[in-house]
């Protein structure tokens, strides 16, 4: 296979392909990959996508200065309006947030998400950072997209240790594949061309549900070209 792209490029482009023109889309802290994906979509097929974020910059013209933080003042400095986090939450509660990007540490086949603890909640073996906005955004945003740069049996588990939330989860994008949540179960939606059914199976602790084996579209030349321009410092690869 002629591999002119890396896993981070593939995930960024796959996420961009999930976004539609005109949608209101939010990302939080530590979210460089989806932030770049949103800008990629905006440059190509979704020019009217509305980029919302924690500091409150609506449609920042660039994400290049967001080097160590996806919640910094730079997103406000180059924005067209100020619309801070608490208002973004309110918007989602009113049913007007189309897409929310969120994280998580453990996921199970029932679409449960754990971002809180490993072990007991009150006496945890491992205290995780916490679900941030997940517990109110995943149930209220029209579509929640989760990205996770790890795909192993400790991440895709039989049963999560703690249910931080579940709800309008739509897709989970990993380095190996994309899951889709429908009829209350995670289904294997597509396998990345860089992976295989065997690899996904080996690294997933729950049964893989699928009707047919489909492959994720690889990044196009155009997408890779635009990525170089909008993300010259490769912020999309920070988590790798």
């Amino acid at each position: 296979m002629n591999k002119s792209y890396r896993t981070s490029d593939l995930m960024t482009c796959a996420i961009a392909n999930l976004l539609y023109d005109g949608e209101t889309v939010f990302h939080g802290v530590s979210s460089h990959l989806p932030m770049v994906a949103m800008h990629l979509a905006k440059q190509l097929h979704a020019p009217n996508l509305v980029h919302l974020n924690i500091p409150g910059g609506v449609n920042p013209s660039s994400v290049m200065s967001a080097s160590y933080s996806s919640a910094g003042a730079d997103l406000v400095d180059s924005s067209e309006a100020y619309y801070p986090l608490e208002e973004v939450f309110d918007l989602s509660m009113r049913g007007k947030l189309d897409v929310a990007f969120l994280g998580g540490i453990q996921f199970d086949i029932n679409g449960n998400i754990n971002a809180s603890v490993i072990g007991d909640y009150h006496k945890p073996k491992v205290r995780l950072p916490g679900g941030a906005g997940s517990a109110v955004l995943i149930p209220t945003a029209k579509k929640a997209i989760i990205w996770r740069t790890k795909h192993d049996r400790r991440t895709f588990v039989e049963k999560v240790d703690f249910i931080t939330t579940r709800g309008n989860l739509w897709k989970i994008v990993t380095p190996l594949c994309i899951f889709e949540y429908r009829y209350g179960k995670l289904h294997l939606d597509s396998i990345h061309p860089t992976s295989s059914l065997e690899e996904v199976k080996e690294n997933t602790a729950f049964e893989l549900l699928y009707d047919e084996v489909k492959y994720t579209l690889p990044p196009t030349e155009k997408q890779l070209q635009v990525l170089k321009k909008i993300d010259p410092d490769d912020l999309r690869s920070l988590e790798f």
Binding site: G28, V29, S30, H32, I54, P55, G56, G57, S67, Y68, S69, S70, A71, G72, A73, L75, V76, D77, P84, L85, E86, F89, S92, M93, N112, S116, Y121, H122, K123, P124, K125, V126, R127, P129, G130, G131, A132, G133, S134, A135, V136, L137, P139, T140, F162, I163, T164, T165, R166, G167, L238, E239
Partner: protein, 275 residues
């Protein structure tokens, strides 16, 4: 003659009592009142109950110095590049402190309730999962007007909100440049507001920008002139994060090492002028 509000850092930090509910302004690596936070540890404050939607260095440092009893927050971690808040994690895992995990929006709801002086705030969205089952500050009730069940979050009334701003006058009329995060809300919710500020500007100059004031002075109890008072976190239009300092802090393992790190800031932290 009005009471003088400008205090030095020591005097202002001494307003915080052990066991207080303390709301800390800023967000993750931005505009966090770190000089004030460091001074709290120098004064050996303890059993503080911290409130913030998303914290990092502030909460981590206070946990390293055993100053904390509970943390009410939605997210506690540095961003990707700097990794996890290990002192906070250790303190929770050892059972020294308790995390009251929120959904960020429920911290906002709890502060909105405080601002309006009502005992709770209804929260749409939080209607499923273990956070509801494990925490006594959430309750699901029947909508008294009919309809769906609704989750309530209990009000959080901070005894003190400490907020770092770019500029204010000697009365505390303050402007925050760039993202305000939850700071304006905190200033309305807390019993007392303490500002640390990069600059104290003359009243007459502030008055020219009166429509831009985020926190009016009459809500403010004390002001500390604290240039670079948020470092090593960033302050919009003034300075970026101090990556060297943050990285060095993240290598500190013991309380003794963290104490030395805090000591290295002493001169800078006490450098503000009195007005």
């Amino acid at each position: 003659m009005e009471m003088k509000k400008t205090l030095n850092l020591k005097e202002a930090a001494s307003l915080v009592e052990n066991g207080d509910i303390l709301a800390i302004g800023g967000n993750v690596l931005h505009r966090t009142p770190m000089a004030f936070v460091r001074e709290l540890t120098r004064q050996n404050k303890n059993n503080l109950k911290l409130v913030k939607t998303a914290g990092a260095h502030d909460i981590d440092l206070l946990c390293a110095m055993d100053s904390v009893s509970t943390v009410d927050a939605g997210f506690v971690s540095y961003e990707t590049k700097f990794g996890l808040a290990s002192h906070y994690r250790n303190a929770v895992q050892k059972g020294h402190i308790k995390t009251n995990e929120h959904a960020c929006y429920t911290v906002i709801g709890a502060l909105r309730a405080a601002k309006m002086n009502v005992p709770f705030m209804p929260i749409k969205g939080l209607n499923v999962g273990d956070l509801l089952l494990k925490n006594d500050y959430f309750k699901v009730v029947e909508d008294p007007f009919g309809g769906e069940p609704i989750t309530l979050v209990k009000a959080i009334v901070p005894d003190i909100a400490v907020i770092h701003v770019q500029e204010c006058d000697q009365n505390g009329n303050a402007i925050i440049h760039g993202p305000k995060f939850e700071d304006v809300l905190m200033s309305r919710a807390a019993t007392k507001v303490i500002l640390t500020t990069e600059k104290i500007v003359p009243d007459a100059i502030m008055k020219r920008n009166n429509e831009r004031i985020d926190i009016p002075g009459f809500l403010v109890h004390a002001i500390v002139h604290s240039p670079k008072g948020a470092s090593p976190t960033s302050v919009n239009k003034y300075y970026d994060i101090d990556e060297k300092s943050l990285t060095s802090f993240l290598t500190k393992k013991t309380k003794r090492e963290v104490e030395e790190y805090i000591q290295s800031y002493e001169k800078k932290d006490y450098g503000g002028r009195m007005v």
